[in-house]
């Protein structure tokens, strides 16, 4: 099962490597990991997408909680949540047909073209990982020049929130 674990941790040098080290030392899987400071400058927030059985996920959350730098965490998948990932895609857009087609595709996926040359479109897209995958699948392989994905971040729906 895929899980999204959101972590608030001390904004300390080395905190990131403690988390990353834990995952490699215990052979846990990391699909993606994002981290950035929060509105409280003493904290940073990390989002890890991982896969594992219930038992493994339980161990992951317990082991993370054991890290002194981890202040609080939540497995977003325990209840409703919203997940978003940002993707930037550079496509070869040459000739009128291709240019109209990629513009149309970007519109359908509610993406935006954020940079244009006479041969290139750079498209920005946000959404769940699935949606981003679907967009890439809709583009011909030969058009894809570069893809950058941020990894997922997420937040719980409704009242539920991760705060200190």
């Amino acid at each position: 099962m895929r899980h999204i674990i959101s972590i608030l941790m001390e904004n300390e040098a080395g905190a990131l490597s403690r988390v990353a080290g834990l995952f490699s030392a215990r052979n846990y899987n990391i699909e993606s990991l994002t981290v950035a400071p929060t509105d409280d400058p003493s904290l940073s927030r990390m989002t890890i997408v991982t896969r594992g059985s219930e038992h493994v996920i339980e161990q992951i959350t317990k082991q993370l909680n054991k890290l002194i730098d981890v202040v609080k965490l939540v497995d977003l998948c325990e209840a409703g949540y919203i997940e978003r990932e940002l993707m930037l895609v550079k496509v070869r857009a040459e000739g009128n047909d291709a240019r109209t087609e990629y513009k149309r595709l970007a519109d359908i996926f509610r993406g935006q073209i954020i940079d244009v040359t006479d041969r290139i479109y750079t498209i920005e897209l946000t959404g769940t990982g699935d949606k981003l995958d679907a967009f890439l699948a809709a583009l011909p392989d030969t058009a894809l020049l570069e893809v950058v994905r941020s990894g997922s971040t997420g937040i719980a729906r409704g009242e539920r929130s991760l705060k200190v």
């Binding site: 941790m9 490597s17 030392a25 317990k62 002194i68 981890v70 202040v71």
Partner: protein, 592 residues
């Protein structure tokens, strides 16, 4: 920020002299250790810690013990900690100093021993430049410490040290490394020092008290058992929970076993005690594990050397588990009633709940269960063939037990001798049996014994070792002379890396690849050249007398080199990957 700017005397207050103390980083470390109540620092100097060594010079409150190798410093501090419950303190230099210490740090980590390791680091401006003797100590030790710090300024030094002691000693204890750049201890930079009395960390609040609902569930399950079994581990020793354990176990009348790490928490000579369990556990302990219907695990972590094959582990049992570390619960074995908390606190609450319930254990079922256990006991799985010709290693431990009245501190190294010490020395008190269980570190025994002897100057301390292990930290014989440590080294010299040889005999058709110890030193003359007493004992008849004589030499270290049966094996044995019910007994017992 300069130190002077920090200090603002409050005008309308009577100026207290103490408020005016200005100390350098080096002096802050020494003063902090005094304020923290530290008696001993085990260490070895080098460039990056010279300011600290200068601050240690000429004061007498903190005794610095100069070892001969940094690994020994960590094991000595570890032995001090295991035998007292107080944190062990280590001071090593940067680079090779701290890398040498890593084995000892990992050893302490695996057994949850509170250590504070202070390591020197190159000055801040040089960090990251591959400077002389620079290693990333925080990075290297990260996976084998409970936590670590790099001190970034003299101003934060005292607070970081306080946090280090707090983290090392609370919750599930463990080693904490504090990496200190040399310029942080600069003698010319002095600032105000106040001992930080308290520390709080928003991200670290270990649970001490068990949840009342869980305690009630546990008590109900425990009292409903027909074939109960209690399995305890190092957590009972670490949390000083022996008294509460004994009270509860006596009240219940249930059988109890212990892991290698928990020995002594419940008296080894008590009839309710079935001996150690696991790979080299007793027949009765392992069979009772296999057949029990309720298992009560206390401060133990279901290590693979204990459980054997998880598929076959306690197949009929509902399991209750007390542990201070939530991550230990349901890690290897799914449990039914988890209780997170400190062992003595939870056990005391359980005893109270039992008394209040007015319920009694099922005495009839229990009597039948004991009958069954006595049948298993009748196998006498620890009996071994005696000999008049060759010294049986087991008999040396039995003699050690008799000669010391069962009341010595016994450290050990790793191998067959360690298992025999655990099996044949019946520990009646906690903190008497000191060994590296989790990491299995050869070379642990002698330096650990030094730490124990420093902590208990008048006590009898024996180090049970093998001719392989002792050579891994033999240089500490020099430290022992310098500080007059009257340790008795019991070397079970079988001229083999015996435990390796045993596995090769069983699982590799006797292909003894690299397990024979050639070119051994003459340990008697070696001991003598270090200024100690050496004895070689070759005949069974001389074993007990030699031990008596050694312990009569109260102020001398004696190296007793027992030439033992070369091919003796440790029994019973459960092969790795087998279940508790699939034990091998010794060939003689197997026939019995």
């Amino acid at each position: 920020m300069s130190g002077a700017a920090l200090h603002r005397p409050r005008s309308n207050e009577f100026p207290k002299e103490i408020d005016n103390v200005k100390l350098s980083g080096g002096e802050i470390i020494v003063q902090f250790l005094k304020d923290e109540g530290v008696e001993y620092v085990f260490g070895y100097p080098g460039g990056a810690v010279l300011h600290i060594y200068d601050a240690l010079y000429g004061q007498e409150d903190i005794r610095h013990v100069l070892v001969r190798h940094e690994q020994a410093a960590t094991h000595a501090a570890d032995g001090y900690a295991r035998s007292t419950g107080k944190p062990g303190v280590v001071l090593v230099t940067s680079g090779p100093g701290v890398t040498n210490a890593v084995t000892g740090i990992a050893t302490a980590h695996m057994d949850s021993i509170p250590l504070v390791v202070l390591s020197g680091q190159v000055p801040r401006p040089y960090i990251g430049s591959d400077a002389f003797q620079e290693v990333d100590a925080v990075g290297i030790t990260r996976p084998c410490v409970k936590h670590n710090f790099m001190v970034r300024s003299t101003e934060e030094l005292a607070e970081v040290l306080k946090k280090a002691f707090y983290i090392a000693t609370t919750g599930r204890p463990g080693p904490v490394l504090v990496d200190i750049p040399k310029d942080v201890t600069d003698p010319n930079y002095k600032i105000d020092y106040v001992y930080p009395e308290k520390v709080s960390l928003r991200s670290y609040n270990p649970t001490v008290k068990g949840h009342p609902k869980q305690i009630k569930k546990a008590v109900d399950l425990l009292l409903s058992a027909k074939r109960p079994m209690i399995y305890t581990g190092g957590g009972v020793v670490l949390s000083d929970g022996a008294k509460e354990l004994v009270d509860l176990v006596r009240k219940l009348g249930y059988p109890i076993t212990s892991t290698l790490m928990g020995l002594g928490a419940y008296p080894g000579t008590d009839p309710q005690f079935l001996g150690m369990l696991g790979m080299h556990g007793t027949y009765e302990a392992n069979m009772a594990m296999h057949e029990c219907d309720v298992l009560f695990a206390v401060g133990a972590r279901f290590d693979d050397r204990v459980t054997g094959n998880i598929e076959h582990f306690c197949p009929a049992a509902k399991i209750i588990h007390i542990d201070i570390d939530p991550a230990s619960i349901s890690k290897n074995v799914q449990v039914d009633v988890p209780i997170v908390g400190s062992v003595p606190v939870v056990l005391a609450d359980m005893l109270k709940a039992i008394e209040q319930s007015g319920r009694e254990p099922d005495r009839e079922a229990l009597a039948k269960w004991w009958e069954q256990i006595d049948q298993w006991r009748a196998k006498q799985c620890l009996a071994y063939r005696k000999s008049d010709e060759v010294i049986k290693p087991q008999s040396v431990i039995e003699a050690l037990y008799r000669v010391t009245g069962g009341d010595a501190f016994v450290t050990s190294d790793v191998g067959q001798h360690q298992m025999w010490a655990a099996q044949y020395y019946k520990f009646d008190k906690p903190r008497r049996w000191i060994n590296s269980g989790g990491l299995g570190t050869m070379g642990f025994g002698l330096p650990a014994a030094m730490g124990v002897q420093f902590a208990h100057p008048g006590a009898r301390v024996a180090c049970v070792t093998g001719e392989g292990s002792i050579q891994m930290n033999i240089q500490e014989l020099s430290t022992c002379l310098q500080y007059g440590l009257p340790i008795k080294i019991v070397n079970l010299n079988n001229r083999y890396l015996g435990m390796v040889r045993q596995w090769q005999e069983f699982f590799y058709e006797g292909r003894y690849s690299m397990s024979y110890m050639e070119s051994l030193p003459d340990f008697v003359r070696l001991a003598e050249s270090y200024g100690h007493v050496g004895m070689r004992i070759e005949r069974p008849a001389d074993v007990e007398g030699a031990l008596e004589e050694a312990f009569r030499l109260k102020d001398r270290l004696v190296f007793l080199d027992f030439i033992t049966d070369q091919t003796e094996n440790v029994y019973p044995m459960i092969e790795a990957g087998k279940g508790h019910h699939e034990m091998h007994l010794s060939p003689e017992r197997e026939l019995a």
